[in-house]
Amino acid sequence: MTYAFFPGCSALGTGRSYVESLVAVLEKLGSGLNELEDWNCCGATAWPSVDDVKAVALSARNLALAEEANPGTDPVDVVAPCAGCYRALLKAERALEERGEVSERVDFALQTVGLRSERRARTRHPLDVLVNEIGVTRIGAAVTRPLDGLKVACYYGCLVVRPYATFDDTRDPTSMDRLVRAIGGEPIDWSMKTRCCGGSCYCGGPLIGAMPEATLQLSHELVKEAKKLGADVIATVCPLCAFNLEGFQDRMSREFGETLEVNVGFITQLLGLALGLDERTLGIHRMLRWNLPESRRAAQGGVHAPA
């Protein structure tokens, strides 16, 4: 199965390794991603603060591009890995379905540039695709280097499950936990799965600028709790969450007077490792906090080395 793919702006920057690993993992599992031709910014959460209809229009253009590239397909699944993009596209999808004043204006705007929304596009999150389309059984079967009980703190963040819970529970999501279990890891049982990291999803993270103490405190709570519960790594599904948790760990350690040093990565990177992909393909060398020498684990576990 090939999906339409909306990488989002962060894929070009801080979230680069997320997209790299996602593409590699899906390819390994026999699914492909077709990047949308000339996609634009989803609008993030900054646009709704300025103009809510234009925010919808921005995302609607991407959905319309996906439909244009896949004529006759219904629904057209658009994979949006970034949590912020995922929510923005979903919101546009809902607004278009409602067919109210907003959708009327957006439809008109699309028309002026020769595009058309036929309400065929359906926004999907990678977790959704991995768990509900590919399935944990298939993923489990494809594992060549199981994680050997690696303790993973599954951190879903906010916008993957809020405000729209399309594929998982809003308060107690489990899709990532199931994935971790499928690849031989051990998800820790913690209460912070969907707690806000303080990032505020604009690419660049504005709250850290306005109120560093707020962002630091929220991120610190997460990292500290993961550390307390013995997590080896925090797995994320959002470029901004990942960046907040890894990028500011030094500063957190300084401000809160404790050494944190918790590994932070994307769930797709863990999946990739378990599927036998090498670190470079998965963009692990780009991570700021990654001290999980998979070579070490491979030696210990004595598992099949990749060819």
Partner: protein
Amino acid sequence: MAQTTAPTSETRKNGSTRGSWKKWRRVTDQSRFEQQLDPGFTQEITSIPNGERLHECIQCGTCSAACAVSAFMDYTPRRLIAMTRAGCRDDVLHSLSPWVCTSCYACTVECPKQVPVTEIMHALKRTALREGEYPRRFTTPIMAREFVGMIERHGRSTESWISLKLYLKTNPFQLLKYYRLALRLARLGRLGFGRESIRRPAELRRMLEAVETPASRVPARGTSTGSVGSLAVAATGGGS
């Protein structure tokens, strides 16, 4: 302004600022006359989808307690709702709370009356930007405008540029704090300095302008989006 670490009973007793004037807030007339309140403001905010549910709020405070950043707000979300409902236009627009909001939607999903709190925060920000009533040295409103301007021009955002401009505009000294991190990111290939753009940015601009067109039949909305549009352009001019 806010706690950086949870206080222990120790720090509570021996706070270093004992007796300092900083501990007392300057008090001005706290009463509100009915004529100071603006029912039109309430109406404007509640005109968003499901916004009328604001009137169903029972002031239980779930939004504030569910909020991860309410500790850093001058008014908790619940108070903002109450103030908006009462029509306290000035108090609401001069609150930092909407600009602290991270749009994580925890309030929205927990609200027992399904008040769209996050969307109300967005609406408050829109009104504030439109009327120019936003905190100038606070990064979030500047960020929102910068971001919007960048998308209007290029169709995509470039994280490096937006961050750089943000700090230059608000707090250049912050830059010093982050330059190491930025350099590291750049070395790892996670911070590109080449400006990202879509191939047909003009087309995108045309589309965004067209969003306003059908609404020109509705003058009130037309002007509002119009002025925001021009505001974004102004931001662009100031930035480059």
